[in-house]
């Protein structure tokens, strides 16, 4: 299914007129013509789409700008990695790619449809209001506000159409920040409000603070931004008590599931008490996802972090188990041919368990898409080996977000809540 476009052409209004206009749109007298306003949730999206904007401006990608992660966008990013002579493991939409393309010439104009293109996974949930903040690459573009009513097309079989509206705020980043005042009345307190920060966690920290305060539910991606900032922000947000959802954590779910599966047979569980070594390989130079997985394991097994440091190649840490024995942990970035769009995706995990009486056990989990030669080599001759392949999840961020919104929780997943602070401490 292709994304749905709003039914009406959006109306451009003066920012100050937006709240009144929307109020009238949903007033009881108007309901006959617009349908009823869905009583669902509001979603506010920070949608910078820098990579897309620059790739279109330089003629490397066809417009319009949509803010969605398409195959064409990823392909154009991959080409840019080559043309800019970046290291081959660079993820196609990484910060380094954006800065490289930003330095290239080009003035290709394009229509900007951010906020008007709605992924079907999201529109199926009938959001009551979608607000998109769309910063533009032009440094002095004044604030524009667009508004449209929107009804998901009634699917066959009839049924009521609950409607929503979309609001787009577009302009230079400064102009946007100045226009924030109109947002408050647009997010009614009686409905859950979600904020999806669909950009780097390094940019506009004040804006993020302003937008994503409690009780709003925050969706972010701890793979986008510098690792320190990503993990610290994740920790602070989780500790503030608001509902935090991390797409990077969500992408780990197959890893958690596969590892748990290895230890489902009761006779294997004893080995969990005797882990002496844990190694993780990740793609590119972003350890956040690997550290989150390590933190989850350590937290579930009741380990205490003793120390953590890093050199050029790896992060090394030491834990103690409940029985006082030390566990050594190492996380390495390994080169991969075709890096994922998401920086720092897991490549492999190795656990070595050495019970006192029975023979040792070595568990290796390895991603479907690549080998894990490093983990498979050496030092395990006398160990019983369990090797599992972890299926790759090929979901777009829009699908992951729809999944979160569809079964929304007003608290952070307890596993993430415990793992996030530990992951932040694991980063030296």
């Amino acid at each position: 299914m292709s994304p749905q476009l709003t039914l009406q052409t959006p109306l451009e209004l003066a920012p100050a007129d937006v709240p009144t206009y929307l109020e009238q749109l949903w007033s009881p007298e108007q309901q006959g013509s617009t349908g009823t306003g869905a009583n669902t949730f509001c979603l506010l999206i920070w949608q910078p789409a820098w990579a897309e904007q620059h790739l279109i401006r330089t003629g490397r990608l066809n417009g319009p700008i949509t803010g969605q992660q398409s195959d064409q966008l990823v392909a154009a990013g991959q080409q840019a990695v080559i043309d800019a002579d970046l290291p081959s493991g660079t993820p196609p939409l990484a910060e380094a790619v954006i800065s490289a393309v930003a330095g290239w010439d080009g003035i290709n104009p394009s229509e900007d449809l951010r906020g008007q293109y709605i992924d079907p996974a999201l529109s199926a949930l009938q959001p009551r209001r979608l607000i998109t903040l769309a910063p533009m690459i032009e440094a002095d573009h004044p604030l524009e506000t667009l508004v449209a009513a929107y009804c998901p097309l009634p699917e066959e079989g009839g049924g009521t159409t609950a409607c929503g509206d979309v609001v787009v705020l577009r302009g230079s980043q400064n102009a946007l920040e100045e226009g924030l005042a109109i947002l408050q009345p647009l997010l009614p307190a009686r409905m859950p409000a979600w904020v999806w920060w669909n950009g780097s966690l390094d940019e506009a920290p004040d804006l993020l603070d302003q937008l994503a305060g409690t009780p709003r539910r925050l969706i972010l991606d701890s793979a986008v931004g510098t690792p320190r900032q990503c993990l610290d922000l994740l920790r602070t947000r989780v500790q503030s008590g608001q509902a935090v959802n991390d797409l990077n954590w969500l992408r780990l779910s197959n890893w958690r599931e596969t590892l748990a599966m290895v230890f489902d047979p009761p006779q294997r569980r004893e080995a969990l008490n005797h882990i002496t070594q844990m190694e993780i390989d990740v793609e590119s130079n972003h350890p956040a996802q690997g550290l989150l997985l390590a933190a989850w394991i350590a937290d579930r097994l009741g380990w205490k972090l003793i120390s953590s440091d890093s050199d050029d190649e790896a992060i090394n840490a030491r834990f103690t188990r409940g029985d006082g024995v030390e566990v050594r942990f190492q996380l390495m970035s390994v080169p991969v041919g075709q890096p994922s769009v998401h920086p720092g995706q897991m490549v492999g995990l190795r656990l070595i368990c050495k019970p006192d009486s029975s023979p040792g056990v070595c568990v290796i989990l390895c991603t479907e898409s690549g080998g894990c030669m490093r983990l498979e080599s050496g030092g395990m001759a006398d160990l019983e080996l369990h090797e599992e392949i972890v299926p790759v999840q090929n979901r777009t961020p829009e699908m992951d977000v729809a999944r979160l919104l569809g079964g929304g929780h007003d608290t952070t997943n307890p596993l993430l809540a415990s793992a996030a602070p530990l992951a932040a401490s694991l980063l030296p």
């Binding site: 009521t160 859950p192 958690r256 599931e257 009741g302 079964g407 307890p414």
Partner: protein, 510 residues
């Protein structure tokens, strides 16, 4: 972390269920003051809540005639669940705020209209998106009227956002099931109707499908060329307990065979669906049921045995017979045991007998499906037991869920004697975690709008039609299908053994 703890639960499994997400909604339970609600439904919901499988925009609205308030309803549920709440009082604290109550008499249209208004307020309060599941946990006599009132009040008009769950029994014969289906289908679309069969909620019943269709080794031999007979057993050790009133009007045929055993038969015998999709699966189940018939439809007494438990037990703990149970007619001819032989008239199963049996107060509590394979064409070896034992695949539904495959191996020593051994798979040994109660799975599926594990109208009707000759006989000339007494805690009447003996077979003694 102590070694003890680690071996009890898998610490990495905690909080990990990769489930589909239930959309925000309000679950409306009619019969909220009844037995099923506090014994099964609310505990299942609380379990879903504890596993974080319910969205935060969620509410349960209990409805029944008595004029309880929200607080009273919460209090009653709290009392009923006291034991579980002790384990996790904090979770209950959060959960209980999602429970509401509205006095509704399903027979009063204005009450149901008022319910609609209450639901709108709950939508406002809990952001439940106008999405509703209505659970009819009331006496079957209200199923038709209840659906109609809901439809008349406009509460079923959106097929994507409203669904109705109907408890068992669905009808009491072919005619009444058809009539009920007709009413229900005028109230909503088939995909809005969820007819409960709690056996389908059992992990091991679902596993029969996985075993058959996710492996290549079983399907090629799953037919008349290799299988000589199939036995399906659901045995209970308990008697009728407090349900005499209901049981007297029902009996084992209606209470167990028409629904649960027939569903097990359908899943065991169905053709592979083209894809794993609810309608594809239900098409195949309906088709196989339509091809199933009693082994002797004209003289059903040749293929069906009814029984009724008599006294039994030991001197220290004697058990009274069915007719002495409180609430039972001392001359009752209600059957507490049924055994019968069926055939399936299709390419796969032509000529393979399916024997099903169920009863109360039997020697053991267990449910299983046993497939017996044909004998090897030539006997090359001496067998320890005289002739070689036929290969058997035993699918254990409960207790001790798992599967077992019995085949011949060489017995140790000189010579070439063979003897049977068992190859075992046990859920406990492999997963070591108790599986969810059936109602947890079924409630979640209904709220997810996934009808795979619910019976469709044509399946229910085919199942009733299958037993019509028996029901008519019991009605019109019960002496032709007498209830044979059997001693409590034995494997049923001797006549049931004779039924198999005629085919040179024995019931499996588990």
């Amino acid at each position: 972390m102590s070694a003890m703890l680690a071996t009890v639960t898998n610490p990495l499994r905690v909080g990990l269920r990769q489930e589909r997400v239930i959309a925000p909604q309000c679950l409306v339970i009619f019969g909220a003051s009844g037995d099923l609600t506090h014994r099964k439904l609310v505990p299942a919901l609380f379990e879903l809540f504890r596993q974080r499988r319910l969205p935060s925009e969620f509410a349960v609205l209990g409805c029944a005639r008595r004029p309880w308030s929200d607080e009273e309803f919460r209090g009653k549920m709290g009392d009923a669940l006291a034991k579980r709440i002790e384990e996790d009082p904090q979770a209950w604290e959060q959960f209980v705020g999602k429970l509401f109550y509205e006095p509704v008499d399903l027979q009063q249209p204005d009450h149901v209209f008022r319910l609609g208004e209450r639901l709108e307020r709950i939508d406002e309060q809990c952001s439940t998106h106008g999405n509703r599941t209505f659970y009819l946990s009331v006496s079957p006599k209200f199923y038709a009227g209840g659906c109609r009132s809901l439809a008349d009040a406009g509460l079923l008009k959106d097929p994507k956002r409203s669904r109705v769950v109907i408890e068992k029994p669905f009808g009491r014969d072919y005619g009444s099931a058809q009539a009920l289906n007709r009413v229900v289908q005028t109230c909503g679309q088939e995909n809005q109707i969820f007819r409960i069969d709690h056996y389908l909620g059992k992990e091991t019943v679902q596993n029969i499908m996985v075993l058959r269709f996710a492996n290549t080794i079983f399907e090629p031999i799953w037919n008349r060329n290799y299988i000589s007979s199939v036995q399906i057993t659901a045995a209970e050790t308990v008697g009728v307990e407090e349900r005499a009133g209901y049981y007297e009007t029902s009996g084992a045929l209606r209470d167990m065979v028409q629904n649960h055993l027939t569903q097990m038969l359908a899943i065991t015998a169905m053709e592979p669906p083209g894809r794993f999709d609810p309608e594809a699966i239900r098409n195949e189940k309906a088709k196989v049921l339509q091809a199933t018939r009693l082994a002797d439809e004209l003289e059903p007494w040749n293929c069906c045995i009814r029984g009724q438990y008599g006294p039994g037990g030991s001197n220290e703990s004697p058990l009274s017979g069915y007719r002495k149970e409180p609430g039972v007619d001392p001359n009752s001819t209600t059957e507490t045991y049924v055994a019968m032989k069926l055939f399936i008239d299709n390419w796969r199963w032509q000529g393979v007998p399916f024997y099903v049996r169920t009863g109360k107060r039997l020697a053991k509590r267990l449910s299983e499906v046993v497939l017996t394979f044909r004998e090897a064409p030539v006997h090359l070896f001496d067998a320890a037991a005289g002739g070689p034992t036929a290969n058997q695949l035993i699918l254990r539904i409960q207790p001790d869920e798992g599967a077992e495959f019995r085949f011949e191996v060489k017995s140790p020593g000189s010579g070439m004697r063979s003897r049977p051994i068992d190859m075992e798979f046990s859920y406990d040994d492999s997963f070591g975690e108790p599986s969810d109660e059936g109602y947890v799975r079924l409630l979640a599926d209904a709220m997810l709008s996934d009808p795979t594990l619910f019976t469709r109208s044509d399946e229910v009707e085919a199942a009733w039609r299958l037993y019509t000759p028996l029901l008519e006989l019991i009605e019109d000339s019960p002496w032709q299908l007498p209830v044979h007494p059997y001693e409590s805690r034995t494997w049923g009447p001797a006549a049931a053994d004779a039924l198999l003996a005629r085919d040179g077979l024995l019931w499996r003694r588990p």
